[in-house]
Amino acid sequence: MKGGWNWFWKGGSILLLAYVIVRGFSTPLQPGLVSATPSQLTIAGQSVILTAVGQPFAETEDLPEAFEVVLRSGDQLIQTEVLEVSPHSVKISVNIPPSMPSRALDAYLFTPASGTLFLGNACFVEEAAKGDVPPAFIAGAPLPKAPELGFSFPYQPNIMESIRNLLWHVPMWFAMFFIMGLGFVASLAQLRTDSIQWDMRAEAAVKTGLVFGLLGLATGSLWARWTWGAWWVSDPQLNGALVTVLLYSGYLILRAAMGDDDRVGRLAAVYNVFAFVMLVILLMVLPRYTESLHPGKDGNPGFNSYDLDNSLRAVFYPAVIGWGALCYWMYTLRLRMNRCTHHLLSR
């Protein structure tokens, strides 16, 4: 019975992760507008190309009449003429009315298949453009139709395709918290019983957790490069993560420095309890109350209905469970190695 259960959860974690990898990389991203060229509007009737990323919002044979692009300045809507449509871009012609509440224009693209795409501050009007051009206001925007997008990941400005990293970066840290918590409990038990069994559990947990912590740092660094433009920024959350990893590296250094001293188990347990308390403070308490770029901190929730739609959830939750189970599996292997070493050495 026990063997069956082991097969179930180990095989299950592999299957879940296979599902996560396939689904995470094959699912298309919903289309979203990224740029308008040129972004400076200078003359009347200027043509602008709006470009999108993600899955195509149009077929090549679609007619331009089916699409509509509206620019918004303050509460004024400016109608444009759609000239050309290609799978990832539209070409429009803009007439700027003489009076503008604001120089920045937001762009709305209404598509028959993908709904409404939005680009904030798409174009800017230069002063010279406010000449005697006939105004072209429209009364209201066409009602957006409910699009049939299929199974696709939500488009987020700036994050774009890198939203797939959510399936790697976040579960890494969840797995690390989980296994470090296990190590914390093991260390508490070690202090209570002074048994080598608990010490081996704690050591295996910390070693496994460190692997996931390093992977979390690496994936987070990649993500930061893409969204914030730097591999590392000095941010409470990031620094806290680095300090946590260094702290647990200190655990290994401490063990190495102790060698085969009899007190290594108890001292390591004391240090591990301390390290876990610091982990909770540094990663879960401090960044929430200081200014931080990281989602989920500084008072702004990271995972709410806005960021995490159902399609993403359908892959994210399996990812969390899969990585967690894999992490536990690695921990059991490490523990078995520790026990074998101990058994061989004590013989």
Binding site: S234, G240, L242, L246, D261, R266, Y271, F274, V277, L286
Partner: protein
Amino acid sequence: MLWLVHLFSGFTAIGRLFDRERSNVRRYLQWTASPLGLILGKLFHAVLTTTALTAVVLGAFLLFLGWPQGIESPGKPGLLVLGAWLGGLSMTTTLVFVSAVASQVRSGSGALAAVLGLPLLLPQLILATRLTRGALADEPWTMLVEYPLFLGALGAGTATIACILFPYIWRA
């Protein structure tokens, strides 16, 4: 502003040296004392040392460098002192714990204390410099009020953990 950072790092270096040598001497001197009393005594000693050091470092800072150039407003001198004191306090309590752990290792305990202590001091150093910079630049209270709270909480937290865990180290 950067002067403060430098001063603080020097400050922690002094604090670390002081504590390490003291802890070894005291360990042998107070062989018979109860562990809780011992750690409380060490922490109290750290508090006194930190207070004295804060006074010396801040006094020297203001004496030799004056109020930083280019800042017209008077800033928040009280908060500056409080930040320096609390920052130093949370750092020294952490160092007491780390050096207590490291002193149990037979060889190279000094180097070990430095290696283990460095990452732990990083967040406190960041918080403290952020706070003192804000105090010098006269930022509004609402932006700064959380920093002394955090430093105090970190110091109190590490002191509490040290008190709880120290008997386990000491029992050996």
